[in-house]
């Protein structure tokens, strides 16, 4: 059933649910992957984001998301200036991303100290988003649920260990996806959860020798 509140809403900063609200959420996702406000972000705007993004405030919306502002936060309008003041440098480039991408797509590379994360996300209408790539791995994440994201060596048993750790802490997994670039290499793991993972579960998974780059992404949408 379609909810009335999907129709009367969201409350958002204009002018466009796809070019502004959705773009902000892609920025929020990138911020979550960086584990907080990054030092630097390189943003590649693709398709309609590149062509009409400035007129729709897509650049400001993404910068606002990187600062942790939601789609209804009026500070989105001044986010470029606020980012500069907060020590976050953001550079925007128009790009033709390789492969098949939705017309409203941005790739954001966030840098925090020595750490990097790369996320590609599309704004697919009415402010909804679809994250299609993280650190070069193909994914499909909507941000509608809190998620655990990490990279692990492609070895048997890792999924069982992680799911039992989560279950042991009372966490319920809504969806789970493992995607790898080649056999025996590294795979990205994404667990969407009903509730955010507790500190105990995060620490236990982070301590697993196969696991690196563990990040907890809150619900974005």
């Amino acid at each position: 059933m379609v909810s009335l509140l999907d129709i009367i809403g969201p409350v958002m900063v204009g002018p466009s649910s796809s070019h502004t609200a959705g773009a902000c959420r892609i920025g929020l996702f990138a911020r979550a992957l960086a584990g907080g406000q990054p030092d630097h972000a390189r943003v590649e705007l693709h398709g309609s984001f590149a062509r009409t993004g400035q007129g729709h405030g897509t650049d400001r919306a993404i910068a606002g998301g990187l600062l942790g502002f939601g789609p209804d936060d009026e500070r989105l309008r001044e986010s470029l200036e606020l980012a500069a003041r907060a020590g976050l440098t953001v550079e925007f480039h128009n790009a033709k991303l390789r492969g098949d991408h939705h017309p409203n797509t941005a790739r954001i590379t966030v840098t925090s100290g020595a750490d990097h994360a790369v996320v590609t996300g599309s704004s697919i209408g009415a402010g909804r988003i679809l994250i299609t790539e993280i650190d070069g791995f193909p994914v499909d994440v909507t941000g509608a649920l809190p998620a655990l994201v990490f990279v692990a060596k492609d070895q048997p048993g890792i999924v069982a260990t992680v799911t039992s750790t989560l279950a042991g802490q009372g966490g319920n997994i809504a969806t789970m996806k493992v995607s790898r670039r080649r056999k025996g290499g590294e795979a990205i793991h994404i667990y969407e959860l009903d509730e955010p993972a507790g500190e105990g579960a995060l620490a236990a998974i982070r301590a697993l020798p196969q696991v690196r780059a563990l990040r907890a992404v809150p619900r974005i949408v």
Partner: protein, 296 residues
């Protein structure tokens, strides 16, 4: 709650003797995601945001990001035209005001989208002012509008890129017509006729924004969309019945949208966007935006 047929929803509401808005509020709560109180609180917040947006836009000092639009809502308020001081002019001014706020990156309620966000508050708050309606009544109006939007989403589309402007300001006008009937105390079947009478007037409306920006003609189309809703409300309350059932009118909108050329679906490839002046204005403004971004 029926969201795949407005006729079914109307029949259910009338069978239980409740208004369309009341039916929608109960139905939303019965769906179980949120309690009735939570739904009302969310709609009250939407109403508050709409009110603030009208007030902000009527101040008259806003310019859009590109500089193409702004200040026209206030201009209408100051007018001494033939309809000056009437509900009609208030509604036009409110709709322009909200859409000017949207174009200036202010806070609005997408209803159903950002591009059509001026129509519903334009009509609803115009009626509220004229008839001294309380917020509980207006929240029921929003619920009725939401139900109509849900049916349009299921049977047709709420996206300009899919269905043209008839799916955005057209759908918003249909929603506003139902809201208007709700707050004025009309029955569910009168609301259905108001929706049909309004939507028949926006069928075929293309989405042709200059430079792809939600500015021209979007701001003005919110005002004319609101006018269409007033026409539908007035005719339905007078007892006029549209001969084509509302569900079939909604299906027609969907069918027209699916067969509409891509130039008229938010691509800035046709319509007003493709006129010589439309192209020139878009070019000038986009160049200016690039320049100001580089210097920032």
């Amino acid at each position: 709650m029926k969201t795949d047929s407005l006729l079914d929803a109307v029949a259910e509401a009338e069978a239980t003797g409740v208004s369309l808005g009341e039916y929608a509020l109960e139905g939303e709560a019965a769906a179980g995601l949120k309690s009735r109180g939570e739904v009302e609180t969310a709609l009250q917040r939407a109403l508050d945001v709409m009110r603030n947006a009208v007030r902000r836009g009527l101040a008259g000092d806003l310019r859009s990001v590109s500089g193409l639009v702004g200040g026209d809502a206030a201009r209408l308020r100051g007018l001494t035209g033939p309809l000056s001081g009437t509900l009609f002019t208030d509604v036009l001014a409110n709709a322009l005001a909200v859409q000017e706020v949207n174009a200036a990156m202010g806070v609005i309620v997408a209803a159903p989208t950002a591009g059509g966000a001026g129509v519903l508050p334009g009509v609803l708050l115009g009626l509220a002012n004229r008839h001294a309606l309380d917020d509980a009544t207006l929240v029921r109006g929003l619920a009725a509008a939401g139900l109509v939007g849900a049916v349009v989403a299921v049977r047709a589309s709420l996206s300009g890129a899919e269905g043209g402007c008839q799916a955005e300001t057209g759908a918003a006008a249909a929603m506003a017509a139902a809201a208007g009937i709700e707050v004025l105390g009309g029955s569910p079947s009168v609301a259905a006729h108001a929706v049909a009478l309004t939507m028949q007037g926006t069928l075929g409306l293309v989405c042709d924004p200059l430079g792809g920006l939600v500015e021209v003609p979007c701001v003005y189309r919110n005002a004319t969309g609101a006018a269409m809703a007033l026409a539908g409300i007035e005719m339905a309350l007078a007892g006029i019945r549209f001969p084509i059932p509302v569900d079939e009118v909604i299906d027609t909108m969907g069918e027209i949208g699916r067969t509409m050329d891509v130039r008229y679906r938010e691509t800035a490839g046709g319509g007003l966007a493709a006129t010589p002046t439309g192209r020139r204005l878009a070019r000038e403004r986009l160049v200016q935006l690039k320049r100001s971004a580089t210097s920032a």
